[in-house]
């Protein structure tokens, strides 16, 4: 059901771990839904020089976290903010329909970490003005008949 790319990122996730004294840390998801993503950023001169993650969640949650860290590493904060879940899905060669929301979680984890960075830096980042790190972006949209 998963693409090879997903399975590769799931089995060999990039950038697993934590960053001590990270410049931004974001956590999204909730235990009740069975998914939590935590993202750590090291930012120097507006450039994301290092990124790590820890994820409790399904295979797709782990794979999206992994690829998301690859996609923002070395990028500017502004470029990282442009990361969409759609781009994440494409980079993984697609996700099953009921797993697309996991990619939303990855996008939100990056945003949450950047939001934390902006608060620490006391700056306002374009696009994060209305960001609410506690919002539940995890909608399982069950349609039991």
């Amino acid at each position: 059901m998963y693409s090879e790319k997903v399975m590769d990122h799931f089995m060999n996730p990039r950038n697993v771990g934590e960053i001590e004294n990270a410049d931004g840390v974001g956590q999204v998801g909730n235990v009740k839904c069975g998914d939590i993503m935590k993202m750590y950023l090291k930012i120097e001169n507006d450039i994301i020089v290092d990124v790590k993650f820890k994820t409790f969640g399904c295979g797709s949650a782990i794979a999206t976290s992994s690829i998301a860290t690859e996609m923002i590493k070395g990028k500017t904060v502004q470029d990282a903010l442009k990361l969409t879940n759609k781009a994440v899905v494409e980079a993984l060669d697609g996700l099953p329909a009921q797993k697309v929301h996991c990619s939303v979680l990855a996008e939100q984890a990056v945003k949450a970490a950047l939001f934390d960075y902006s608060k620490k830096q006391n700056i306002v980042l374009e696009g994060l003005e209305d960001f609410n790190p506690d919002e539940d972006h995890h909608d399982h949209e069950e349609d039991h008949e």
Binding site: C33, G34, I36, T55, F56, G57, E142
Partner: protein, 387 residues
């Protein structure tokens, strides 16, 4: 992937070669329709009679109390809706549990939308119902108790005999979903006072798409599938002859080998549980320690999530399940694990490994060697795990 270890026998079983061999002639040669009176038809009819006889023997029933269906789910739907609608002038109350298979639960929910009232009994931490709660739930409007024999996720076996006796005493129909129990536990419908019982062939090394409903003589029930006069006018549709033949053979084999089957699966089960509990911390065994299906193991690993566990095991050639097979495609934590009181995150980390006749000791050794590493790798990635 060097090894393939199938540990999902509760989801479905491979068919046994003996079963296939008996089925084969009925596809292309003895292909008649049992309703036809010519030679091809009579040959097919006879094959169905033999299978019905084998099934009847396997559960202590009479031949004319066994009705073939298209599977366990159809049998559950038929039993529950059939009893409900045929007896609605007597009452509209049904008693079941919170840990039934969806084929029972969703059928009950459907009836709730159509004028029936359903009580869902709780279970304790081991998945056992409380017979007193059952007693108290009975009203003079109760027409049916539908209560599963053994649970498909955690393997807990209910006190069916006590329940049957109570139902009989109160004059209430008793249906049991024995899809998981049949072939794993000795069942005599008279001894246990069962009025209706659902079973399914593909759980006992028989073919998929065939099941049966035992209906005690005299039970008042409506049909679910109307049409031709098959199955003594109670279940229409041209009979699935090869499937029915295979079911008959599988049931016969199951009865003949019941003792060795139980001792084989029980010993591998106990070995697996012991092996994992010794090597992994923050793990618990879900389900009842004693009253459980011989081949059922269900672990809850803290700090990790079931799907990633399954996927990782699958990469090692180990096939397991988290929760029931039917819902492992779903994202919700299992209703059974919630009913035994697990928290969401622990329910999410559950793994069911079910053992069968083809499981070998070395398969279990392999799992005991690999599973702890997988758990550890995923915990290292988990934000919830603090070493």
């Amino acid at each position: 992937m060097n090894q393939r270890v199938y540990l999902d026998y509760s989801a479905t079983t491979p068919m046994k070669q003996e079963v296939l061999n008996e089925m084969l002639p009925y596809f292309t040669e003895k292909f008649g329709n049992p309703s036809s009176i010519h030679a091809y038809g009579r040959e097919a009819k006879q094959a169905v009679d033999v299978a019905r006889d084998r099934l009847a023997k396997a559960m202590g029933a009479k031949q004319d109390e066994v009705f073939f269906t298209g599977g366990g789910s159809e049998a559950d739907n038929w039993a529950i809706k059939g009893i409900a609608y045929a007896n609605k002038q007597k009452g509209n109350h049904i008693i079941t549990t919170k840990i039934e298979h969806h084929a029972v639960l969703h059928t009950c929910e459907y009836l709730e939308k159509n004028g029936f009232e359903v009580s869902y009994l709780d279970v304790d931490q081991y998945g056992m119902i409380d017979i007193n709660q059952l007693k108290n739930a009975i009203t003079d409007r109760t027409i049916l108790i539908t209560l599963m024999f053994a649970n498909n996720e955690i393997g807990t076996i209910q006190p069916i005999k006590e329940i049957g006796a109570l139902a009989k005493e109160k004059g209430i129909y008793f249906h049991t979903d024995a899809v998981q129990a049949f072939g794993n536990v000795k069942i005599d419908v008279n001894d246990l006072n069962i009025d209706l019982m659902s079973i399914s062939a593909h759980k006992i090394y028989g073919p998929k798409g065939v099941g049966a409903l035992y209906i005690r003589k005299g039970v008042k029930i409506n049909s679910l599938i109307h049409g031709g006069a098959q199955e003594r006018r109670r279940r229409a549709g041209t009979e699935n002859i090869p499937g029915i033949v295979g079911f008959g053979k599988a049931a016969e084999l199951a009865m003949e080998t019941l003792e060795t089957h139980i001792s084989h699966t029980t010993s591998l089960r106990d070995k697996l549980v012991k092996g994992i509990m010794e090597k992994v911390d923050y793990v618990r065994l879900n389900g009842h320690p004693i009253h459980r299906l011989p081949g059922n193991v269900n672990f809850a690993f803290e700090f990790i999530e079931g799907e990633s566990l399954l996927l990782s095991l699958d990469m090692l050639g180990i096939s397991g399940s988290s929760g029931s097979a039917c819902t492992s495609g779903s994202l919700d934590p299992s209703h059974v694990l919630m009913a035994i009181g697990l928290s969401h995150e622990i329910a999410h980390g559950s793994l069911r490994l079910t053992i069968g006749d083809f499981t070998k000791e070395e398969d279990i050794d392999y799992v005991i060697a690999e599973l702890p590493k997988v758990v550890d790798r995923l915990r290292q990635m988990s934000p919830l795990y603090e070493k």
